[in-house]
Subunit: 109 residues, 2 copies
Amino acid sequence: MTTDHVFTALASPARRELLRLLLDEGAQPAGRLAERFDMSRPSVSEHLRVLKDAGLVAESRKGRERHYRLEAGPLMEIRDWLTPYERFWRERLAALTTLLDEMEDDDVS
Amino acid sequence: MTTDHVFTALASPARRELLRLLLDEGAQPAGRLAERFDMSRPSVSEHLRVLKDAGLVAESRKGRERHYRLEAGPLMEIRDWLTPYERFWRERLAALTTLLDEMEDDDVS
DNA sequence: TTGATGTGTAGGAAAAAACCTACGTATAGT
DNA sequence: ACTATACGTAGGTTTTTTCCTACACATCAA
């Protein structure tokens, strides 16, 4: 459940697709999720486990089905990690904008 | 330079550490960056290449040195990817807060 | 109780990633 | 020109990841 686990979980396109499905369509049993993939059901099951270890999904047993639901909390760690870079990016962008403005002034004069 | 490349690049702790160094200490030659790692210099070089392929760093040759600098732009793709989940997370949190408020009201009565 | 259904787990093959030690190449300094 | 320095690349090994096909286990339905 560390930040490292979350980054690792997000590195796989299949796992990001799983998260997207849970976001757009809500909680679903494992089998229904697996149908959407060009991959064996057990493989999807393993991806779900990686997501669960990262705290990104939670399961609840309904009869013989297991419903998986999105747990977006850990994604906020990613957002927090991103924050200082966002500031950096904004500063660079601001500098670039200033530069372009100056160039435009030169053109006019 | 796709979003997938960016996610993959961020999956490695060593690469995230490289980005952090470039953020905190500014652009640096490859060798100076490599000194900070418990890893051979060529390995660090490969990590830098992965970051470069993802568009997260750029290099500029200064004499026989190669300075690497942070390119935070692609990280904004991650932030954008995160956005819908952030909304989801906020809604869940709001629901939880409401529930806790109601429980508190019950206690008082 | 028996058979079908929904899932996770085991075990193993194949692909990808992460390392390493040479080695090649270019620039700097003498 | 020659040597030292700063790198990237080649080639190969080890580890990790990904995916598969059985198989085991629990639940539902008859």
